[in-house]
């Protein structure tokens, strides 16, 4: 038996699209993976550790299916300390960041999060990220495998008066699921007051910690930035509650796929623009009117005239998963797109996928063929998310 195709963020040996996103400079061997603050904690709980983004990380504990369903019904604890946490500050930091990101940052209120993207000069996506205004500073969370490149790009492009601190001493934990709010409120009172895409500083375990109501599962939940030295104490306190289980990268990937959320290095890369990726919502009205971000001419033209390709979801006929790297074909067998993420949905108990297709074929219910390892599958363009989001939005009960 051989393991032939992996998908999602647990790839160790092979990626269908060729580029392993190890974060290492091209052509150089990847350095030995580093341990995260919770390394021993994960191993003690039976975490199966794999190399990811330059770190040893747990891909699963009791099993992806069980962990996935547990998160949808209870609360799952994810260690996402591999992600880059950056603090950017200096005079007119919002104006400076707007030259790199297409989001409305000048108008972003304090403690609010904004999903954005670091763009290159042709509008290709260098990374996707969360930006939060914290007082005079902006707090950015970027992807683990791309963080060093992002920092280089930003340091080069930002004026000398703007400082960028890489918060290497911070761990990042996510608590996700419908019971996350009650669990966390019992440990850190006040978090109930946060609404989706809002954060605040709290005091716990002798430290100031930053908590936002956000995540990557489609569920209500929180992301908690805490000094690495206190991460284990927080993880212990959370998992002491029987509603919480530790969850690995495998379920993180299947959860985000069901939620229709793109994964950088798979569904987003420098060949895709925010418009192609269906992320135009992240370019607010003033930015569309004024431009002034990398690749603006192309991106504004794509907003006006439509992109060549669009990111779409697929319902896949049958039981067999269609994974990253599969081709999308039209009725005549012409290649009209590609699958960038795919797998078996634990919640729906059937295969689902995400990919890019020619814009005229991107309407929901369009029937297409998917080709994987010489075999054809029936795929139907499906609206995303596959599983409805359950965020705690402002004004909701």
């Amino acid at each position: 038996m051989s393991r032939e195709v992996h998908n999602g963020p647990t790839d160790q040996h092979h990626e269908a699209r060729g580029t392993p996103y190890t974060g290492a400079p091209e052509g150089e061997p990847a350095p030995e993976p580093l341990p995260l603050a919770l390394d021993g904690w994960h191993r003690a709980r039976g975490g199966r550790m794999v190399e990811f983004a330059g770190y040893w990380m747990p891909v699963q504990f009791e099993g992806i299916m069980a962990e996935h369903l547990w998160t949808r019904e209870n609360a799952g604890l994810f260690d996402v300390s591999h992600m880059g946490q950056l603090l950017i500050h200096g005079p007119d930091v919002d104006t400076a960041l707007e030259t790199l990101l297409p989001g409305e940052l000048k108008g972003l209120a304090g403690r609010k999060l904004r999903y954005s993207m670091l763009l290159d000069d042709s509008g290709g996506i260098i990374d996707d990220l969360m930006a939060t205004r914290r007082g005079e500073e902006f707090y950015l969370v970027v992807n683990g495998a791309t963080k060093h490149g992002d920092i280089e790009v930003m340091r080069q492009a930002l004026p000398d008066t703007i400082y960028l601190d890489h918060m290497t001493g911070q761990a990042l934990l996510a608590l996700q699921g419908p019971k996350a709010v009650d669990v966390l409120e019992a440990i850190i009172p006040g978090v109930t007051e946060l609404t989706f895409m809002e954060g605040n500083a709290f005091h716990a375990f002798g430290h100031s910690i930053w908590i936002s109501r956000s995540g990557y599962t489609g569920e209500d939940g929180f992301e908690i930035s805490i000094p690495a030295a206190a991460a284990e104490q927080l993880a212990d306190a959370l998992t002491a509650d029987e509603r919480v289980k530790p969850i690995g990268l495998g379920a993180r990937d299947s959860l985000r796929l069901e939620a229709g959320l793109p994964l950088y290095g798979h569904d987003l890369d420098r060949e895709t623009t925010p418009v192609m990726a269906g992320l135009t919502f992240a370019i607010q009205k003033r930015r569309r009117a004024e431009g002034g971000f990398p690749g603006a001419p192309r991106i504004l033209s794509e907003i006006e005239n439509g992109p060549i390709q669009k990111r779409v979801g697929f319902d896949v006929e049958g039981r067999q998963p269609v994974r990253e790297g599969a081709l999308v074909l039209d009725g005549e067998g012409n290649e009209v797109g590609r699958i960038t993420s795919g797998g078996f949905s634990p919640s729906l108990q059937r295969p689902i996928a995400m990919g890019y297709v020619a814009t005229d074929l991107a309407e929901p219910r369009t029937e297409l063929k998917l080709e994987q390892r010489g075999k054809l599958f029936d795929g139907t363009v499906a609206p995303m998310p596959f599983v409805p989001h359950r965020y705690h939005r402002k004004g909701a009960a």
Binding site: M1, R3, V5, G8, Q320
Partner: protein, 123 residues
Amino acid sequence: MTTYFTREHEWIQVDGDTATVGITDHAQEALGDIVFTEVPEAGKKLAKGQEAAVVESVKAASDVYSPVSGEVTEGNQAIVDDPALVNSDAEAGGWFFKIKLSDTSELDGLMDEAAYRDWVKTL
């Protein structure tokens, strides 16, 4: 009956010139939750080392190779209908296919159970 094992984590239980083939418990554990299997139909001729079946978990897709040459006499419909059976009973009810061996000398290079279990511990 004798059971042999391969370095590709298949087991083959031989009874005269027919045999039953599956993947080992170690293999199902490494794959995780199995969500799809495809087994060969009766009558299919397989060469030693040829792709014979497919097994997919939530995360990974793998081919199952035939450890011997011969003609398939039966594929296990039970694991097609319920792929999780491979997780729960890999080395018995979760078998993949039965095959009529064309050359029993091909078994000579395979491991016995003790050798396989010892070798797995070194992985």
